[in-house]
Symmetry: C2
Subunit: 510 residues, 2 copies
């Protein structure tokens, strides 16, 4: 691979160039290792994998802290090698997920906006080594990131030692799209002065003491591409309900045609919804989100979008090529910022973001589970969904009404795990319809959700539950001993639908 020395502005650092396995050898058992990477973008492409390889033979375990999920199957490789004892704040890897759910490694699923503050206050101990992907290093030692910023700025500030991976597959003229603001520590945390999605408030590189850089590794691997699913009937329906709802809000004078800054979470539905805006009448849209997906660039191309602020660019392979082949036409419309800025309560609540996130399931009162299958097994984690849902102007959650061939209703009497309480959920949408929960008390919310969101095959069961619950009374009526019957049915019969079985009643008495 080409060692492009022009990418190292600080010439004293040239002597730090080394192979990945040498750099990985700095990582020792018990260390806290931080790595760049946010939703598969801008992650370590070489050093962590070299470390995983070594760990297959060495009994060595680390704490691994990132921005969000990694690409390159790095989490799977590290997990399989038994190299991670503690992982945070997010992952989305099937192999690591299994290990976590088996209790083989500890996972702290955190609000993505909060990790930087937790690190600054030292609750995870000191960071021994940070591995940071860069497009180049400037003369002052500061680092120009690649396709994500994530937690890299705080990692660079706090880590005792730093390994830089310079990825020559990323054009050097990515320089200029990063907006790095460090907010300081309590009691002197600074105001984050962002008052519009497109406003630059920081510098274009991550400050870094060159003395801390112990290794520089050249790579040329591209980010793992996002798995983008083409919108289908279901996601298109959901998108159309949301677009109609927003049109109505404009008509009612509560929003203008430029809406307010949009955030869209991960998951196939959220991407489809954003894509729906391309054919809409809305214009001069802005995005203030975490992850800039394919839909962001579709909206630029459709002339609908004025600006996009995020913490990473995570796109399909074809979109990636399109972006960098036409970099000039996008470059001045994008800012990538640290995730404690993109996800900060302060900025999200000031801008009045319209947040669209995906639920695993919701309940008839509007509580949402984003993370735990049947209350126990983690899927990915809460990610940034609560950062946005809690502080947005409008918090929209989308989900299909059922899954697994209708054996599971994603609207249940009571969710088995609460990531977002009814206070942080304004709008619920399934392919059945949209429930506007604003200004409603819990019993009214239940009626609206039952009417609009549930699958016909589950409506009877849910209505019956609600009726019985109302007979018992309460601000939020429940038949507490039956609230989780659907999970019991699923466990015993493979479906949430009611089946009478002897099996079931005998289990109750055990």
């Amino acid at each position: 691979m080409k060692e492009d020395l022009s990418r190292i502005g600080n010439v004293s650092l040239i002597e730090k160039i080394m192979q990945a396995n040498r750099a990985a050898s700095f990582i020792e058992n018990g260390m806290v290792v931080a790595s760049s990477g946010f939703t598969k973008s801008g992650d370590s492409k070489a050093v962590l994998l070299a470390f995983a390889e070594r760990a297959e033979f060495d009994p060595i375990k680390i704490t691994l802290i990132t921005g969000a999920s990694l690409g390159q199957h790095t989490d799977a490789r590290l997990g399989t090698a038994g190299a991670v004892s503690l992982r945070l704040p997010f992952q989305a890897d099937p192999v690591m997920r299994t290990l976590i759910n088996e209790g083989q490694l500890m996972y702290i699923d955190e609000n993505l906006g909060e990790t930087a503050m937790h690190l600054k206050t030292g609750i995870f101990g000191e960071i021994d080594i940070a591995v940071l992907e860069a497009s180049s290093i400037k003369e002052d030692g500061s680092i120009i990131p690649t396709t994500s910023v994530g937690n890299s700025a705080v990692f660079a500030a706090l880590a005792k030692q730093i390994i830089v991976e310079i990825n020559v597959s990323v054009p050097a003229d990515i320089e200029g799209i990063h907006d790095i603001l460090l907010t300081g520590k309590y009691p002197d945390k600074a105001i984050i002065p962002i008052i519009s999605a497109g406003q630059r408030v920081g510098r274009d590189s991550i400050p870094c003491d060159p003395e801390k850089i112990i290794g520089i590794v050249f790579t040329d691997k591209k980010d793992s591409p996002a798995d983008i699913l083409a919108p289908d009937k279901t996601t298109q329906k959901i998108a159309s309900y949301i677009l109609d709802f927003l049109k109505n809000e404009v008509r009612a004078g509560r929003l203008t045609n430029a809406l307010l800054p949009l955030q869209a979470g991960i998951g196939k539905v959220a991407n489809a919804v954003l894509q729906g805006f391309a054919e809409s009448d809305f214009g001069h849209l802005t995005i203030y989100s975490e992850v800039l997906q394919d839909s962001t660039f579709d909206l630029f191309d459709a002339g609908k979008l004025d600006f996009a602020s995020g913490s990473s660019i995570t796109v399909s392979q074809s979109c990636y090529e399109r972006i960098f082949d036409n970099w000039g036409s996008y470059k001045d419309k994008i800012l990538l910022r640290p995730q404690d800025i993109t996800n900060s309560a302060e900025v999200i609540s000031r801008l009045g973001v319209i947040a669209i996130n995906t639920a695993l399931e919701c309940d008839i009162y509007g509580n949402v589970n984003s993370s735990h299958i049947s209350g126990t097994d983690i899927m990915n984690g809460i990610g940034g969904s609560a950062d946005f849902a809690q502080n947005s102007y409008l918090s929209i959650f989308v989900t299909e009404s059922t899954c697994k061939g209708n054996t599971i209703s994603r609207v249940v009497p009571m969710v088995s795990h609460v990531d977002h309480s009814e206070h942080d959920v304004d709008i619920l949408v399934t392919e059945q319809g949209l429930a506007d929960l604003r200004g409603l008390a819990p019993r009214q919310k239940a009626k609206t959700i039952l009417q609009n969101c549930v699958h016909p095959e589950y409506r009877g069961m849910l209505e019956e539950y609600f009726k019985e619950a109302c007979q018992r009374g309460g601000q939020t009526p429940h038949v507490i001993e039956k609230a989780f019957d659907c999970y019991k049915n699923l466990r015993l019969n493979g479906s949430m639908k009611r089946h009478h079985s002897l099996h079931e009643s005998s289990l109750d008495q055990s």
Copy 2:
């Protein structure tokens, strides 16, 4: 009662003076009525009660929006008269609570920091009449509030008509402690520039168009006093664990001796904890909270507290007298602000507040229920607890480990209602001990909570549950069909403790 005309700086308004029942007659069926009042302070003392009297005979119902809870048994009187169809965002009245739980009136329990934004976006319709307690009206028509600000500034801005209650029992020189900043509407919401608890950022009165004032009523009733319970052994224990924990944080270099701004919620434990600071070694403390309780003034008197920012002064009768007899010594150390400023995510997260709130119950994974008894019946509401818990530097929840003569464990396998997810709970404290949940994964949290917080009579049951759950696996292990057994036991046997009863098994099969 003395009509002290010197309290009306705008002389054109003197002709608007009237009796309370005349003012109450402006309220019509179906109206949206807003009233000042926050935690029993600065509320309407005359007009709402005159309206309640009228409603006993008239079939008339309103939507009633306040800052938080009202004193004077106003909610009880309105509820009994059947005069309220919808109530928000908070109440703490036993009679109204019963009506709400019976489904006789709709109650929207809101995050107290969010109501102002919801009103500005119009989701509750227009405010027809606002009833605002004042100490005086200035020449420009602007209103000097009394012992609370609450939502009064946004009510004055949005209401079509305004009735002012001038309360002459409040000294006129309360003027100067209010700090009124209106943050504007999306997309032009302003930065809230507060960087320290004691910083004034707004004006000392609530802007009000004098043309909107349709009535002025003089009153001389004092605020209903807070029910302050003297600290007992249990609350003192809880307080001492928290003080020890904070001392340790200072020793570890994570906090200074002035700590960070403190918030303490309602409930007897939170007040006792603050009182504990009076005998501590901490100094130059500040408070950035909602409600300033007796403990605030005890801390001033003990020379421990430099400044207190809140939205209301809610104190016992003796404390009330002490404050206003020595007003000069407190006045320049207090600011009362709108509740969307005291409770704003932006300021709380910037200042790094240490938040201490009371839980009804918590679970072994650190989720907290603040509002719903057994998941259904509302106690008061979420209040400001989530505004603070979500955005604080340290979120502490306190609760006794049991209640009702040990028939109820306040630590359960899975809380029946989630107001605060594990992500927003750093420290859990009962009289048994303190669990520091920072930097722990769910299974580790469970071990810490089981070890430190549960009552010995429930430890066995909870440990057994956790063990069985871990055998099943998961990031957050549960035996979902048994997660609520304790509520079932409580319902059937009057205790969460296990009892075998035939009754129980026959119910399961119904």
